[in-house]
Amino acid sequence: MNVENTQQQMRKGILEYCILSILKSQEQYPSEILEKLKEAKLIVVEGTLYPLLTRLKNAELLSYRWEESTGGPPRKYYSLTDSGKEFTEQLDTTWQELQTAVEKIIKD
């Protein structure tokens, strides 16, 4: 068992939650989401994001609309659907609980 693997597993578990959280306040297109995730060092390679976005979209937690951009390819602006918002709120609670629980255990 190596550390990198475990780290990856931990990151992966919360990645979907983070994507949903990023989209909570406003709609964004993948490059913006990528910027935030890379800044937070949650992903190493950009490719990771796309299967997740499609999955969340297929689960009807996300929806998107196309927008032309000047001098670049068209952009897909993603936003949370109603069920996505509900889902994210539930995850917020879970995350709070987990955080407290983990901190408590680490301290002891």
């Binding site: 190493v44 950009e46 490719g47 796309y50 299967p51 670049g72 897909k76």
Partner: protein, 524 residues
């Protein structure tokens, strides 16, 4: 100077170096393969293409106009290798789980009228030939690769697979409407799923028209159709190659295991096997081992070649490894073939010179010579009678001796008033002494008691002498006006048979003879 090409990535035109384009194209091919038709894969690819376009745009700010290989390398590094981020198994299971959950929820909500019966359709959208396999895969919710492999196996064994495929091609309808596509996948037909499927179809349609447009630009208007026919032909070719491979394998195994009626000869343990024939024909045990090596190399590499060649075409594998492996097998086959030919020549050289031994059995003064033998059959070929003790077997191996039951009789006119009985044994080798020695080893039981001659049913020689065209015949000189009673059948000179002597054995380049009195004759 480097060659550049103009490409359109998601509506943006780029000028890109040729090698950079190849690298990018290869990346997208691998991505598609990693995604392996999982749900939403087209969408993922599209998203990533958009990202590539964005990143290319970023690379080209300022005065730079051409996308170079380094740029593509860096973009790929940013995106990561498809194998790194596509986790097919896990995600597809997750999906199917969420799917079944959705379905069970839907089932609860809609109660009994949500009977979503599955139907078998040909899925032409994901077809390789006519979409039969993909349709079956959809029906059973299995990976299409497994169905295709099973199908290849059905093609190979029995041969009715091809027929079955054609029947299914004709009988099974292809999906035309959205409703059909839903039935194919066994989804419940509700307003919601129809809408979803219509959206998907619209999406695929949009993409395929775009793809088709680009194909027209790149490969001419009929590129798709030509591709389809070409693919069908190559699949048929691949299956044929594998089929021949399997037949050769079966033949080779049959040879190896023995008990294969290759030569009508038997041994203590049954039919003569290929390895026993080898031992009989080849001069030394080292030659036998060499023959095994050469033969296995030849047969093994040819069979493996046919299999690999078929599978490579079938699964569109084409890289330096596939090419190297085929070349290696080809060379192995050549080496094996050369070894076999060399052994053939070596063995052939061992049969160039004939040695012959003539023994006198006796001289009889009688009115009628009586020949008695257990030989059951005889046949007349001119002045030579072939007596076959056992017509079913060419030879028989017993107690380290080889028995041959073709006893031949030659009748000639005697120069005096006596019956003269001789036997002549001959064999071949690459030296005269060796040939004469082998001829001398030929043994045939024959005794003259009074005026009756008892003839054994077969002649034999030691197995260690090898099979060297050993031959044996009996010469009886019949005096004028006298006769022979052969197992009760009367034989008389000039009456039943034309006994005119014809020596037609001058074809040997060199021959020697050890006479009955011990004198040796060379080139007599």
């Amino acid at each position: 100077m480097k060659k550049t090409i103009s490409v359109n990535i998601k509506g943006i035109n780029f000028i890109i170096e040729e090698n950079a384009y190849e690298r990018l194209d290869n990346y997208l091919v691998r991505l598609r393969r990693s995604l392996n038709n999982q749900e939403g894969s087209e969408e993922i690819i599209e998203d990533i293409e958009i990202r590539i376009a964005e990143l290319c745009k970023e690379k080209l700010n300022g005065s730079k106009e051409v996308v170079e290989l380094v740029d593509i390398e860096s973009i790929i590094e940013t995106l990561g290798e498809p194998e790194e981020y596509v986790h097919t198994d896990e995600e597809t299971t997750n999906q199917s789980q969420s799917h079944s959950q959705n379905q069970s929820q839907a089932g609860k909500q809609e109660e009994s009228d949500a009977k979503h019966e599955k139907r078998l359709y040909r899925d032409t959208e994901n077809a390789q030939i006519a979409g039969v396999c993909q349709g079956i895969a959809n029906y059973f919710n299995m990976d299409v690769v497994i169905i295709r492999i099973i199908w290849v196996l059905i093609f190979l064994f029995g041969g009715f697979g091809m027929l079955l495929y054609i029947i299914l091609w004709i009988v099974v309808p292809k999906t035309n409407s959205t409703i059909d596509r839903l039935r194919m996948k066994g989804k419940p037909i509700t307003v919601e799923t129809v809408r979803e499927e219509v959206e998907n179809a619209a999406d695929t349609f949009r993409k395929s028209t775009r793809k088709f447009a680009s194909q027209i630009r790149e490969n001419g208007p009929y590129a798709k159709k030509i591709n389809f026919i070409g693919r069908a032909v190559s699949v048929a070719f691949a299956l044929f190659s594998i089929f021949i491979g399997i037949i050769s394998l079966i033949a080779f195994l049959a040879f190896l295991v023995g008990g294969f009626q290759f030569i009508p000869a038997k041994t203590d343990s049954g039919f003569l096997s290929i390895s026993q024939i080898g031992e009989l024909a080849l001069s030394s045990s080292s030659d036998v081992s060499t023959a095994w090596i050469g033969g296995s190399m030849l047969a093994g590499s040819v069979i493996l070649f046919l299999f690999l060649f078929g599978f490579y075409i079938l699964f569109k594998l084409k890289n330096k490894w596939t090419r190297t492996s085929l070349w290696l097998l080809f060379l192995t086959a050549i080496v094996g073939g050369v070894i076999c030919i060399w052994l053939g020549l070596k063995t052939g050289r061992d049969m160039t010179i004939t040695g012959e031994i003539k023994r006198s059995i006796g001289v009889v003064s009688t009115e009628q010579l009586i020949i008695e033998s257990d030989l059951p059959q005889w046949a007349n070929t001119g002045n030579i009678k072939v007596i076959a003790g056992n017509q079913d077997w060419l030879m028989e191996i017993k107690d380290n001796r080889i028995y041959n039951s073709d006893i031949r009789f030659k009748f000639r006119e005697s120069k005096d008033s006596l019956f003269h009985i001789h036997e002549i044994a001959s064999a071949k080798a690459h030296t005269m002494t060796a040939a004469v020695k082998k001829a001398k080893n030929i043994h045939h039981p024959m005794v003259l008691i009074g005026d009756s001659l008892k003839v054994g049913t077969s002649y034999d020689y030691p197995k260690s002498d090898k099979f060297r065209l050993q031959d044996f015949y009996v010469i009886i000189e019949i005096p004028a006006n006298k006769s022979i009673l052969f197992n009760g059948k009367l034989i008389q000179l000039g009456k039943d048979y034309d006994f005119e002597e014809k020596e037609s054995e001058n074809e040997y380049t060199e021959r020697g003879r050890l006479r009955g009195d011990g004198r040796y004759e060379h080139n007599y």
